[in-house]
């Protein structure tokens, strides 16, 4: 209790102090996150076109949402986003797991490997996109050069829908697998060697040890990587923007890109907000899954 410690009169109560300390963070969050989100919902129920300022901001109810339902470009961008999520999340996890296993080998000098995992993480997403766009350049890119040396003719990667999507997914997997590897490596390092040795003495082979020791103990780290990766994959913007700007046509346009185009290029803030609300709900579903999982493990 507060009275058990000798306090000077200047000292304030614990509750007041806590409130004071939390206030700056709370104010910032209210201004930059809470208020904008409420505003987003409000905007999504109105017609707000910056290009027609004379029209005012009439309330239109759920009209924007009805339009979304009938908007084929929305469905395509949603499909692209889900496709990217479905390919790059497992892809980055598998590559990341491989990298983590390699990085966990008993090297005498550890820093080059650690650095090699950190570099892709620290590289800005949009720069990774730029660099991979250069890799996949039809005439002068290194990918088609290697293919040519193998006697194959590479496609015009970024100007055809299928290859463009493939190139984007490869870039995303490369960029994000190192984050997965770092998380998984931290998990691997908590597994004591003695467990493996004991199991080996009992006659367990490599695969059995992987299946029955490594995987179960690695589960928490895998879950963290999986959920974080999923949440960021839903928001994919930078890499496709840098590589194709959503093209050819809208063949690689993600939901986030469509929201931005609708608002900042078409200046249709009402409809763009409704699109953003849809994205918000999808993302919050993934977050809820994450929070439930955290609660499950802490109990």
């Amino acid at each position: 209790m507060a009275s058990t410690t000798r306090r000077s009169r200047r000292d304030i109560g614990e509750g007041v102090l806590a409130a004071l300390l939390l206030a700056p963070a709370g104010a910032l969050l209210a201004l930059i996150v809470l208020f904008p989100i409420l505003r987003l919902f409000w905007l999504s129920l109105h017609e707000v076109r910056l290009s027609e300022p004379w029209a005012g901001q009439p309330f239109v109810g759920l009209l924007n949402y009805r339009d979304i339902w009938a908007d084929s470009r929305f469905w395509r961008s949603l499909a692209h986003t889900l496709l990217i999520t479905g390919i790059t999340v497992p892809g980055a996890l598998c590559v990341g797991l491989g990298l983590a296993f390699l990085a966990n080998l008993p090297f005498r000098v550890r820093w080059p490997v650690r650095l090699a995992l950190l570099l892709p993480w620290a590289l800005p997403l949009v720069f990774s996109g730029l660099i991979f766009a250069w890799f996949f350049d039809t005439s002068y890119g290194v990918v088609n050069d290697v293919l040519a040396r193998l006697g194959l003719e590479g496609p015009a990667w970024l100007s055809r829908p299928g290859p463009a999507m493939a190139a984007i997914c490869i870039a995303i997997v490369w960029k994000t697998s190192s984050f997965c590897a770092l998380v998984l490596l931290a998990g691997l390092q908590t597994i004591p060697d003695t467990l493996h040795e004991a199991a080996a003495i009992d006659g367990a082979g490599r695969w059995q040890r992987f299946r029955h020791i490594t995987l179960p103990l690695l589960r928490p780290a895998i879950m963290v990587a999986l959920i974080f990766r999923t949440i960021t994959a839903i928001q994919t913007f930078d890499i496709p923007f840098a590589m194709t700007r959503g093209g050819p046509g809208d063949a690689t346009e993600t939901l986030a890109m469509y929201v931005r185009t609708t608002t900042l290029d078409f200046l249709d803030f009402g409809y763009g907000s409704a699109l953003a609300v849809v994205m918000f709900l999808i993302s919050m579903a993934a977050t809820a899954w994450y929070l439930r999982w955290i609660r499950g493990t802490s109990e």
Binding site: P112, A116, A148, A186, I234, Q235, R260
Partner: protein, 279 residues
């Protein structure tokens, strides 16, 4: 006694494994570096060359001369440093309250922080754009500093909460028995002891702010305000995309971040896994 199936792999295999990981992590940057040393005419040769035939630094000179690259770097630095400072300040106060004081609804606050850290930026784009426009902040540094500070707040707070919790309470109690106020104890005991934790959180916040693209692309429309990621991505050559020039600019833009992580790699790794694994 160890059965040979758990024996460590041989030296050659170890070297190969290390080489594989290192190549995977550095190949794109090596390629960009090699590209940045080539002349424009060499770049249009087919088959392409891997190593530059006549290495030149001319692209680096031109990267600074052809576009205001310095300005972009300064813009990025100002925005990243200011937002990091703001983030750390607000986060350390909040983290102290969450780690040390009885806060009603503590679990709820922590959960809210995790939720905010997963927030899709694009959902904030539209209303924030309007707010910044209303406040006349478009094309000014605060338009990015405020959002970046807030978006880094959760990670910094979570890292710092776990750091504060690792500092023994007795140190503070002793100081308070000796007549320190709680804020005095925070200032004299906890903050000096948690400097490493703050530093870790600051590196993460800085890298995130340096890397951000979407808001920077949308809120700073004028060319002189562009951050380095926007400036380079929107760079338009007169004809085709000028790859040697872009590569040189990319190398310069990557330098600050690479220096940071080379110097502080252990800290970054521990911060990343703490922020990620602790919820």
């Amino acid at each position: 006694m160890t059965p040979d199936r758990v024996r460590a792999p041989g030296r050659i295999w170890l070297r190969l494994a290390a080489l594989l990981v290192v190549l995977n992590g550095t190949f794109p940057m090596i390629w960009i570096f090699l590209t940045s040393l080539k002349t424009e005419s060499e770049l249009t040769r087919r088959p392409i060359t891997w190593l530059p035939l006549e290495p030149t630094l001319a692209n680096y000179v031109r990267a600074f001369a052809d576009q205001p690259l310095w300005l972009y770097v300064v813009n990025s630095l100002v925005v990243a440093l200011l937002s990091t400072a703001l983030s750390i300040l607000a986060a350390s106060l909040a983290a102290y309250a969450l780690a040390r004081l009885r806060v009603r609804g503590r679990e709820l606050i922590l959960a809210a922080l995790v939720a905010v850290s997963t927030f899709p930026l694009i959902t904030l784009l539209v209303p924030l754009f309007q707010i910044m426009r209303g406040l006349g902040l478009l094309n000014t540094y605060p338009a990015l500093v405020l959002p970046y500070a807030v978006l880094n707040l959760p990670v910094c707070t979570l890292v710092l909460v776990s750091f504060f919790e690792s500092i023994p309470k007795d140190l503070e109690n002793a100081a308070m028995l000796d007549g320190c106020t709680r804020l005095g104890a925070l200032w004299r005991i906890v903050i000096p002891l948690s400097a490493p934790g703050m530093f870790t959180a600051a590196i993460l916040a800085f890298v995130n702010a340096w890397d951000e693209f979407l808001l920077a692309l949308s809120f700073l429309g004028s060319q002189r305000m562009r951050t380095v990621s926007v400036g380079i991505t929107l760079y338009q050559g007169e004809f085709a995309f000028p790859w040697p020039l872009i590569s040189a600019a990319l190398m310069m833009a990557l330098l600050p971040v690479v220096v940071l992580i080379v110097l502080f790699q252990e800290r970054v790794v521990s911060g990343l896994t703490q922020g990620g694994l602790k919820g």
